[in-house]
């Protein structure tokens, strides 16, 4: 563990670049450090590399040949590219844009999917505890406790998304990565998820991609603004919304483009 130096940051990105085609960088030399128990919003116009950056953090790009990721990403001081990718993905839970519960699994099966997929066997009591704890932590328990054996796909979109968050939380990750988790949801479900994010901050560190600026303003402590693959500005959300340093950030936030 030569690299395990506790710097107080849970995540450090050093010169992180990602390219889908050689020579073209979807994410271009991004440097950033993220403190624990914070919510960081990644903003920017469509196609600027937000999802690409997020996927780099749990090494999802490695599923596809031809995508190259360079630079260093340290998770609690440890370089994720020297860790087992399966472990990285368990430690950095991912919530996707569209709710994607497994359609062949029940609600409790979905919550336990991480264990099942990693062939970790649990006894009945452990299962029950994990299901209840995870569903409670996304405020879904009371709504589904009587239908745990029903398919997760019967739930509403907002409930499905909370189920997917529960599924990620069940593995006790260090980080929760969310890629526009509310963009497919109605306003009420959206605000429930926003409240949830604020609660989860006590236990987890959250990075959320959003192109909803008021959402970023409501829930994030820090904000990143990306443009054409570059991290243009990174600071506290308050500062970015009140006096952005960069002209492009200002233009984006005032709606001049994007």
């Amino acid at each position: 563990m030569e690299n395990t130096i506790n710097t107080g940051y849970i995540l450090e990105l050093k010169e992180v670049s990602v390219s889908y085609t050689p020579g073209k960088y979807a994410v271009d030399k991004v440097n950033a450090r993220i403190a624990p128990n914070t919510v960081t919003a990644i903003m920017g116009p469509s196609g600027c590399g937000k999802s690409t950056l997020l996927h780099a953090i749990n090494r999802l790009h490695e599923l596809y040949p031809g995508i190259s990721t360079t630079g260093e990403i340290l998770l609690k001081g440890e370089n994720i590219f020297r860790m087992n990718p399966m472990k990285v993905r368990r430690l950095a839970g991912m919530v996707f844009q569209r709710p994607n519960p497994f359609p062949t699994m029940s609600i409790s099966g979905n919550v336990l999917a991480g264990y099942k997929l990693n062939n970790i066997s649990l006894n009945k009591k452990e299962k029950g505890l994990i299901v209840e704890r995870s569903l409670r932590s996304v405020n879904l328990w009371d709504e589904v406790k009587d239908v745990l054996n029903k398919k997760g796909t019967f739930l509403s979109g907002g409930q499905q998304q909370r189920l997917c968050i529960a599924r990620a939380l069940a593995l006790k990750p260090e980080l929760l990565l969310m890629d526009e988790p509310t963009s497919a949801l109605d306003p009420i479900s959206t605000s429930r998820i926003e409240d949830l994010i604020l609660e989860l901050k006590k236990e987890y560190t959250i990075i959320i991609v959003t192109h909803n600026m008021s959402q970023a303003a409501r829930i994030s402590d820090n904000a990143m603004f990306m443009y054409l693959g570059k991290l243009v500005e990174y600071g506290t959300t308050r500062q970015m919304f009140t006096k952005p340093e960069n002209k492009r950030t200002e233009d984006y936030l005032t709606g001049s483009f994007g």
Binding site: L63, M86, L117
Partner: protein
């Protein structure tokens, strides 16, 4: 322009109606010629009887129904491991890679080979192998026919099920990977279960083909009118008894063959219908 349009519509409508009339005609022809046998033996007696006696003009279809079910079930059992591997290879592991494109074109090639060619191969290449292995004395029989049938239906089962496996949404696979799953775990726990009904339907469709396949089976099954007692035994399927005897049959015997034809028609039609229905549910 409108006139041309009307004309075209007329032609298409006529063609469509013709297909319906044709199908009805086939069923009518089979039913009307089946009548004598129905009247003489009764439907249930006919399908439950093992007798096929030209001298006394007594006929029953049980041996052929048994032969058909045996060969088709065995064929599907032999086919599953191969086509599942091929479909995972093409639909998941090597999807869109050069090797997989090559494999799927070989599979397509296999699907286009006429059944008489499979029959020849089974007769002159595979049969001696079975004899050498001591699995059968003459080589002919249920086992030989089933193996060749399996080879014939592998292309259908595997190319269709590969499509269902490839259709599993990427969202779900990424969701599974993001929970730390390995390739194998994603296949086992996500891709196969999600594609399950589609894969099942592919096998039913392949089963339907095996039920009706005639030429190769007729060449290989040994053509005896008994219920096969074991895999090495000879027998006949519903299709092969018809192919064997229709030329020399007349009277009640011909009528009995017609009943078998009618049965085969309905069995394969229902199997296809079930498969299509499942696929429709999947595609919703």
């Amino acid at each position: 322009m409108a006139k041309m349009d009307k004309l075209l519509r007329g032609i298409l409508l006529t063609a469509a109606c013709f297909i319906i009339v044709l199908t009805a005609g086939i069923v009518y022809g089979l039913v009307s010629q089946s009548w004598d046998a129905f009247a003489s033996f009764g439907f249930f007696r006919f399908i439950a009887s093992t007798e096929w006696d030209s001298r006394n003009d007594i006929y029953g279809a049980l041996p052929f129904i048994a032969g058909t079910v045996m060969t088709a079930v065995l064929a599907i059992l032999f086919c599953i491991p191969f086509s599942l591997s091929v479909s995972l290879f093409n639909g998941e592991y090597f999807r869109n890679k050069k090797l997989s494109l090559f494999v799927s074109s070989v599979v397509d090639l296999l699907a286009g080979v006429p059944s008489i060619v499979f029959g020849l191969w089974g007769f002159y290449t595979l049969r001696p192998v079975l004899v050498d292995l001591g699995l059968s004395q003459q080589g002919f029989g249920v086992l030989l026919a089933s193996i060749v049938l399996a080879v014939m239906i592998i292309p259908y089962a595997s190319s269709l099920s590969a499509e269902f496996i490839a259709m599993v949404p990427n969202d779900l696979k990424e969701g599974a990977y993001s929970l730390g799953a390995t390739n194998l775990e994603v296949i086992q726990r996500v891709s196969l279960p999600v594609a399950g009904s589609g894969i099942f339907a592919s096998y039913i469709l392949a089963f339907g083909r095996a039920l009706g396949e005639t030429m190769a089976v007729t060449m290989l099954i040994g053509n005896t009118n008994n219920i096969p007692r074991n895999l090495a035994d000879t027998g006949n399927t519903m299709a092969s008894i018809i192919a064997n005897q229709f030329g020399e049959a007349g009277g009640l015997k011909l009528s009995a063959l017609m009943v078998i034809g009618l049965l085969l028609f309905f069995i394969t039609a229902s199997v296809n219908f079930i498969a299509k229905y499942i696929m429709k549910l999947v595609n919703r």
